[in-house]
């Protein structure tokens, strides 16, 4: 770079573009709502201002207001009709293509020539003297990829090329060029010009310096009146460039105008720059350009060649910006969901572990009223991995109570609930990792024929694998006996298990205690040592908490077959399932945050004030029983039973020993489990009080999970 540089080629610092994110947002909505596939060019407005920082150039900026308002749109936030001192409006044109191929295929030289032609025409017609911003006319081509929220774009700032190029006779800071008085006077005049709303956004102007050192600023249209003062005349422009040895791009076409219209070959120009909003004569430059362009420049018909495509880091490449972070609805939904939870953690629960929640894989057995509601609550807590298992189809009566379904799911015989629920969860929150498994749960007391045996065994294995691959299991089926096998498998695998069951106006929500064997033991290999380890105790020496079957005197039987029709058609009050489901999920969240996890002791509301208050989420009960008719709720603790048909050590070790054979026998022989656990004996001796917690059942009997 030449310094002081008398006689060297005058080099201009190219205009730099800056596109506000708001411009792309607005272009997207314009494209979607109004333009469609219309590719016609659009008039846009760019904004620029004099450089206002000694180290940083100003840019030609596009804002959301740069685009025309949408049809029928409420008038936009800012008054876009007026540019201001910091936003001098410059006309531009946008070619937005429908495809990336179309973008690349645009004839860029031709487009540039078109715009240069307009500039030339505005110079020749005198229009540019009335509205000088026309000299900085620009061009933008773009392709808006609205599927990926990325925008490919390329700016051109057309400049008429003087050939041979102008040379520099002199260039120095205005303060060096002018006398102190002149500089002072010019500063005042410029600040005045920039202050008045009538002139603040007029980027080209004439400066006359009187013999009394008085500077006066005039519009280009006042040229005739000024031309006699030619020796004291400066051609001023708002210079976006900050460099000390180069004027900015807007001077190029200005020189063209001056040379072509006013026939000057030696042009004294002022690069007007500011610092912190005020004229700065140290940053502003005054220079003298010498032009020796050929005669053709004098002819209106001749259009000079033009340059101006913006380089991208020194290369002739388009730019690309990706805004998926602020435009992709899925990412927005995820961050909004996260925000709610993070806010909760920040404000109320600093110990809330969102990572545990989002990483916990939940298996929901049953996708009825309870399953739907539990799934929703889990998502609300930030659980992202949900598998729903059910073999039923969505019936007409379901959508009103089962919150994941709509009438559409019932048509044509109904979709599988598991499938419909998966779809629905993803519609509610696309970032959820939901999966639906259509499968029946083998049940004791429901004998199977020899032919069906393989299917049942296959189902058992699938269920076993599903439980193994999840972290928490919810038992939400509508019959008692369908909970037996999952309870056993969970006790065997030591998985967090939560049960919710409904009566007509009462509910039970509980977490199962740990299984009878230490989880460190491998089920198949360490059978003998298991036998020694088996106990009713948890690892702290306390008693194991019971499972759903522990408190039952009666082992699960075929509750459907043995009931009267009336009992089969048990319905529940609609408010029950949402209450129970919510409690079930809250129970899981509490359990996940408890340092002892599945081994945590049961706490009850009455034991308040002891250790219960230590957990930020509150107490961690074992069972919650509630009644809507009484509008009451209580917490209970029930320990594991030695003769439990699902979780006692006899049953679990029998399962470990015999595996599927054992399951088959339990399925086929109604009294096998009771005999095995001694329950048969117990029942004979006791006619105990029995609290009847009916399982949820629906009017249409096909709701029951059957084999």
């Amino acid at each position: 770079m030449a310094e002081g540089c008398s006689g060297s080629i005058l080099q201009f610092a190219p205009f730099q573009s800056s596109v506000d994110e708001g411009f792309w947002h607005r272009l997207s909505s314009l494209k979607l709502n109004q333009l469609g596939i219309d590719e016609s060019p659009i008039s846009i407005t760019g904004f620029y201002a004099p450089c206002t920082h000694p180290q940083v150039s100003n840019h030609l900026t596009l804002l959301s207001e740069s685009l025309p308002p949408e049809e029928g749109e409420q008038s936009f936030v800012r008054d876009r009709s007026h540019s201001n001192r910091n936003r001098c409006a410059v006309p531009g044109i946008l070619y937005n293509t429908n495809t990336i191929e179309g973008f690349h295929a645009l004839d860029k030289q031709c487009l540039l020539r078109e715009e240069a032609k307009k500039i030339w025409a505005d110079i020749q017609s005198g229009a540019a003297e009335k509205d000088s911003a026309l000299l900085s006319r620009f061009l933008l081509i773009s392709f808006a990829d609205l599927k990926k929220w990325s925008f490919h774009y390329w700016f051109a700032f057309p400049a008429l090329v003087l050939d041979p190029p102008a040379t520099l006779a002199d260039l120095k800071p205005a303060s060096d060029f002018l006398s102190l008085e002149e500089a002072e006077s010019l500063s005042v005049a410029c600040n005045e010009w920039r202050k008045s709303s009538a002139t603040a956004d007029v980027p080209y102007f004439l400066v006359t310096l009187g013999s009394n050192s008085r500077a006066t600023i005039k519009h280009l249209s006042d040229w005739e009146a000024c031309r006699h003062d030619i020796h004291k005349l400066l051609f001023g422009f708002y210079d976006p460039c900050h460099l000390p040895n180069n004027p900015g791009w807007p001077l190029r076409n200005f020189l063209g105008l001056i040379y072509s219209r006013w026939n000057l070959k030696s042009i004294r120009f002022l690069c007007y720059r500011e610092n912190r909003g005020f004229a700065d004569m140290g940053l502003s430059l005054i220079g003298e350009a010498l032009i020796s362009a050929p005669q053709e420049w004098r002819y209106e018909q001749h259009v000079p060649s033009s340059v101006g495509w913006e380089l991208n880091r020194g290369k002739r490449l388009p730019r690309c910006i990706t805004l998926s972070k602020s435009m992709d609805p899925i990412r927005l939904a995820v961050s909004a969901a996260d925000l709610n939870l993070k806010l909760m953690r920040w404000r109320a629960l600093p110990s809330l572990n969102l990572n545990i929640l989002s990483a916990t894989k939940c298996l929901l057995l049953g996708a009825g009223t309870l399953g739907c509601q539990v799934a929703r609550m889990l998502m609300a807590w930030g659980v992202r991995k949900i598998t729903l298992l059910d073999n039923g189809r969505v019936a007409m009566s379901n959508p009103l109570r089962q919150s994941l379904y709509t009438l559409d799911d019932c048509l044509n015989g109904g979709d599988y609930k598991a499938t419909a629920a998966e779809k629905s969860l993803k519609r509610i929150f696309p970032a959820v990792e939901a999966e639906g498994v259509v499968m029946a749960i083998p049940m004791p007391g429901h004998p199977v024929s020899i032919e069906e045996e393989n299917i049942v065994l296959e189902d058992c294995r699938r269920l076993h694998d599903l439980i193994a691959s999840h972290d928490a299991v919810f038992l939400l089926t509508d019959t008692r006996e369908s909970r037996w096998l999952p309870t056993l498998l969970c006790a065997n695998a030591n998985k967090i298990t939560i049960t919710a069951a409904l009566g007509f106006d009462s509910f039970l929500v509980m977490r199962h205690g740990a299984g009878p064997f230490r989880p460190t033991q491998d089920a198949e290999n360490a059978l003998s040592s298991d036998m020694e380890n088996m106990s009713l105790c948890d690892k702290n020496g306390g008693q194991r908490l019971g499972c759903y079957f522990c408190n039952d005197v009666v082992a699960p039987v075929d509750s459907v077959a043995n009931r009267t029709l009336d009992q089969q058609c048990t319905v529940t009050r609609p408010g029950l399932a949402p209450i129970a489901s919510a409690l079930a999920v809250e129970l899981l969240v509490g359990l996940l945050h408890h340092p002892l996890g599945i081994y945590a002791e049961g706490e009850s509301a009455s034991s308040n004030g002891t250790r219960s208050c230590e957990q930020p989420l509150g107490i961690l009960p074992h069972q919650i029983r509630g009644s809507i008719s009484q509008f009451s709720q209580m917490t209970l603790i029930g320990h594991s039973s030695n003769s439990c048909t699902a979780c006692c050590s006899v049953v679990v070790s029998e399962y470990r020993k015999r595996g599927m054979d054992f399951v088959l026998q339990a399925v086929n022989e109604p009294t096998y489990l009771e005999d095995l656990t001694g329950l048969t004996e117990l029942m004979k001796s006791a006619s105990s009080f029995k609290l009847d917690w009916d399982d949820e059942a629906e009017i249409d009997g096909d709701e029951f999970v059957e084999i």
């Binding site: 201009f12 596109v19 708001g22 060649s305 101006g308 925000l339």
Partner: protein, 240 residues
């Protein structure tokens, strides 16, 4: 002066301000800023016409300061364009790059710009800061970039404070996501601040002082340093 009309009573004060107090404070603040902080970018009141039928905004505008510059000397990492081949100027397409009047200049300065908006929250009845950062070509800065721009001592104040929670939310007027500090702790904080600082203002609190004190803390997140002249409660020398 506007601030005379907007005086708060500290004794029974819950740390919030009303919409009219906010509007008055915002204008007074911008005016004072212009007088006392010459040379800094100015705050302007952006007027937003109220949308009929949707009365979600009790205040028809917000305070805005744009293009706050932060210079970074370390040149940013490439936006995915291989910088190795600078010779790669592809001249085949036209004569353009033979134009000797074009200056080829690459700045070694990386500039980050910040826009700050102060919006009134009707739900929390406090001012809320919305801000964003971007590079010179308009490319938005992500949270990591922004955190790197915050001076260490400011970061400590902001990140450890229980009442500043940086997040991204839809700008209430512009309708696309901006960074913000969640307002739900603001009133609590402001109340405490003024209880401690009550001597400074005797027993009355000017809403404009509220805005200044608040902004001198939250503004740090977007590189804003509120000059001491703003905090000084004596009237400015240059009165208009």
């Amino acid at each position: 002066m506007l601030s005379d009309a907007t005086i708060l009573d500290i004794s029974s004060w819950d740390g919030t301000i009303s919409p009219s107090e906010f509007i008055a404070a915002a204008h007074a603040f911008a005016e004072k800023w212009k007088l006392r902080c010459r040379g800094l970018p100015i705050w302007s009141w952006i007027c937003c016409r109220k949308t009929p039928f949707i009365s979600s905004h009790e205040v028809d505008g917000y305070l805005s300061l744009e293009k706050l510059c932060i210079l970074r000397s370390d040149k940013m990492e490439d936006h995915g364009i291989d910088d190795a081949g600078k010779e790669g100027l592809n001249c085949s397409e036209n004569e353009e790059c033979t134009d000797s009047a074009v200056l080829v200049h690459e700045s070694c300065l990386e500039v980050h710009y910040y826009d700050l908006h102060v919006v009134y929250s009707s739900s929390y009845r406090v001012p809320v800061i919305y801000f964003r950062g971007y590079r010179s070509d308009g490319q938005p800065l992500v949270m990591d970039d922004i955190e790197k721009d915050i001076p260490a001592n400011s970061a400590k104040v902001l990140m450890e404070s229980k009442w500043t929670f940086m997040t991204e939310q839809e700008h209430p007027y512009l309708k696309w996501p901006w960074y913000t500090l969640h307002p739900c702790g603001t009133n609590e904080f402001m109340r405490l601040l003024f209880l401690i600082d009550v001597s400074l203002l005797e027993d009355r609190v000017a809403a404009e002082q509220y805005l200044t004190s608040w902004l001198s803390v939250v503004g740090q997140v977007a590189g804003l340093k509120v000059p001491l002249q703003m905090v000084d409660s004596t009237p400015p020398l240059t009165t208009s």
